[in-house]
Symmetry: C2
Subunit: 214 residues, 2 copies
């Protein structure tokens, strides 16, 4: 097992992955997300997954090292994207706590609604992660919480917000969009935009802000 990567001579170029392969992997990933979402990781079998994408269970291993790898990739990958997207949207907002909180909630909600299934399992399947990966996911969540908290405290200091404990307030704020995957259905009575606004208003009011103010 000395075939270390890229160190010896003739380092066997990684061979650009074909478009076909990439498409296949995406297909598998998407199917896995769907299955994980409505049966849970443990209850989803490789045979189930294989059937959905129309291939044999064993063939899946040409694309992923293991069932667990698939889970980790989905969970951590999704959370990283969420944090990144939220961060960008906050940084793009005006330098006012209210506007920033609004931007944060809005992008959070939009992400959750666009990728409902991924977001849903990131929450419910964390327990299936091994210690290291679970820590990583928690770290990302803390990062998100840190952004919220920073905005909240700044808003409170400036008199825009009003609440007792910043820690509790942070968790309250995050609770609302976090539950979206539980009840929001894109094909439901209300469209995304009709949900984002009242939801944002609820959160802003919750921390004592005037939702009307920009």
């Amino acid at each position: 097992m000395v075939q270390s990567e890229g160190s010896g001579a003739t380092p066997t170029r990684p061979r650009r992955r074909s478009a076909r392969r990439v498409a296949r992997e995406r297909e598998i990933r998407a199917a896995a997300v769907d299955l994980f979402q409505d049966r849970g990781y443990e209850a989803t079998t490789m045979r189930d997954l294989a059937q959905v994408v129309g291939m044999d269970a064993g063939s899946l291993y040409n694309h992923f090292r293991s069932k667990y790898d698939l889970l980790r990739e989905v969970l951590i990958g999704t959370m990283e994207e969420l944090v990144e997207e939220v961060r960008i949207s906050v940084e793009a907002a005006p330098d006012s706590p209210t506007a920033q909180l609004r931007a944060l909630i809005s992008s959070y909600v939009r992400f959750h609604s666009e990728r409902l299934h991924e977001a849903g399992i990131a929450d419910s399947e964390r327990r299936s992660l091994e210690a290291d990966d679970s820590r990583r996911l928690l770290e990302l969540r803390r990062e998100l919480a840190g952004m919220v908290r920073e905005i909240l405290e700044r808003g409170k200091a400036g008199g825009e917000f009003e609440f007792e404990d910043a820690g509790v307030a942070t968790l309250c704020v995050l609770s609302v969009p976090a539950r979206l995957p539980v009840w929001f259905r894109p094909e439901g009575r209300l469209g995304l935009d009709e949900v984002v606004e009242p939801l944002t208003a609820f959160v802003l009011r919750g921390v004592g802000a005037e939702p009307g103010a920009a």
Copy 2:
């Protein structure tokens, strides 16, 4: 499968269960809740459960018909108690939407914190329920949502509350206490009472109420 319960002749008297047996069943139930909570139903094996209560896996079947039965009993039983407790506390409150919403949230939160694990799995393990039982659980949740919604609409009509859509508002309100099992730890920085108050205030503000008003 005609052995309907209590209809035929000689309806096998339930024969008062000994105190020992009752205690054992409670013990098993509690252990199951704990395991379901931090590994999930699917990932919990009867052998795991048996080891926790210090007996053999097969012996568990003297107390429960199946693993699934255990899950159903915990999930639906807990939810029924929650709905009942919340209803009582709302009916005991003064006839004001603000007071009633406050009572509802408060009792909801207290229930969740006293029985953190039960409440946590009622949410995350519903997918493991068979269709009928899942419907039953959903029905209970809708009952709870109905109570919230009724209060909200009455409050809006009376000018106490302010929000756009009653459906969304209901879900926002419920989101906050529902996330409690995710982050609240009784041994943490804040005790129960220090959490109930700011959390209730957040929700009340969220629907446009004055948390100060009784």
